[in-house]
Symmetry: C2
Subunit: 200 residues, 2 copies
Amino acid sequence: MKFILASASPRRKELLEQIGLEFEIVPACGREETAFTKPEEIVTDLSRQKAEEAAQKITDRKEPLAVIGADTVVALDGEILGKPKDEADAYRMLSMLNGRSHKVYTGVTLLLCGQGTKQPHSFYEETEVVMYPMSEAERQWYIATKEPFDKAGGYGIQGRCAVFIKEIHGDYNNVVGLPAARVYQELKRLGIDIYRMGGA
Amino acid sequence: MKFILASASPRRKELLEQIGLEFEIVPACGREETAFTKPEEIVTDLSRQKAEEAAQKITDRKEPLAVIGADTVVALDGEILGKPKDEADAYRMLSMLNGRSHKVYTGVTLLLCGQGTKQPHSFYEETEVVMYPMSEAERQWYIATKEPFDKAGGYGIQGRCAVFIKEIHGDYNNVVGLPAARVYQELKRLGIDIYRMGGA
């Protein structure tokens, strides 16, 4: 079984490396359009689009593949926050998140590709994140680090923004961009033993 | 203000680097003895011992110093789990933690040293960690990674053990070994502006 990460995100790459998975990267962005409206449905749908797009690019492969697609959004007060468009948008997002709780959703699709078959297994994880109050100066300072711009919700929990994260409820890596534990547990459930432990 | 980390832990070093603090390392281990019995009191006492020990080593410094001492333990069923002594001890700890919830405590002391004065500010953070069930083969596999041996409770949330962490409630970095957000927030409360933001 060969693993393919359908994402160019350096954070998702690092997470799969952290858990010791050997994989190849085939970037995919999906159509970025969905008919769904609930955050957990949106991320699940977009993760499947990405996995399918990456699988399309490598139909010449002979060996069995597991393509991993993932999509992350931040949700607050019924609004879905993606990546900020510019500084003003980043400031708006940080001001919304400031001093309170929001939710982060990552959808994942494991697309198992065999001889002419494609089996998608999709799931999502939800994590609550509680932020400390950020002063105006702190928000401006954080935007000046340039960290917000490639990240859903305009912050990275694994970067400088760590000093503003009071607590989380759920999986931490889900906030970073990929719930690696759930990926491992789902692969195990599907009979895929990534560490070759045998009787595990 | 010069910052001193009173710990040789590579994980604490990485966390302070992540939040962009400039600091120097002066390792200290404390007496590792305490009259306290509650986990939150033990880690607070030991963090203060470490900060005081490091401060003793650098009494020749002229500039104002903030010495950061920290100590982490895992607590479950009234037992305090430190670092495992050997493989059997690591297996015992992982079997205790397996498939259920435990608590991680990190105590921190910020020892502010000026002209002949030393002001300790101590606090602790508590994080609940919920683990997925680990099979016998998974426990043996994890011990074979050698990760358990220098870590309280016999596991590292930031390493391969990530695949067995279902969720946490509280601060993630507290489980890694230093609640960096709380350190920043407490320094701010003490009027110490590590990012030189001025009006923050």
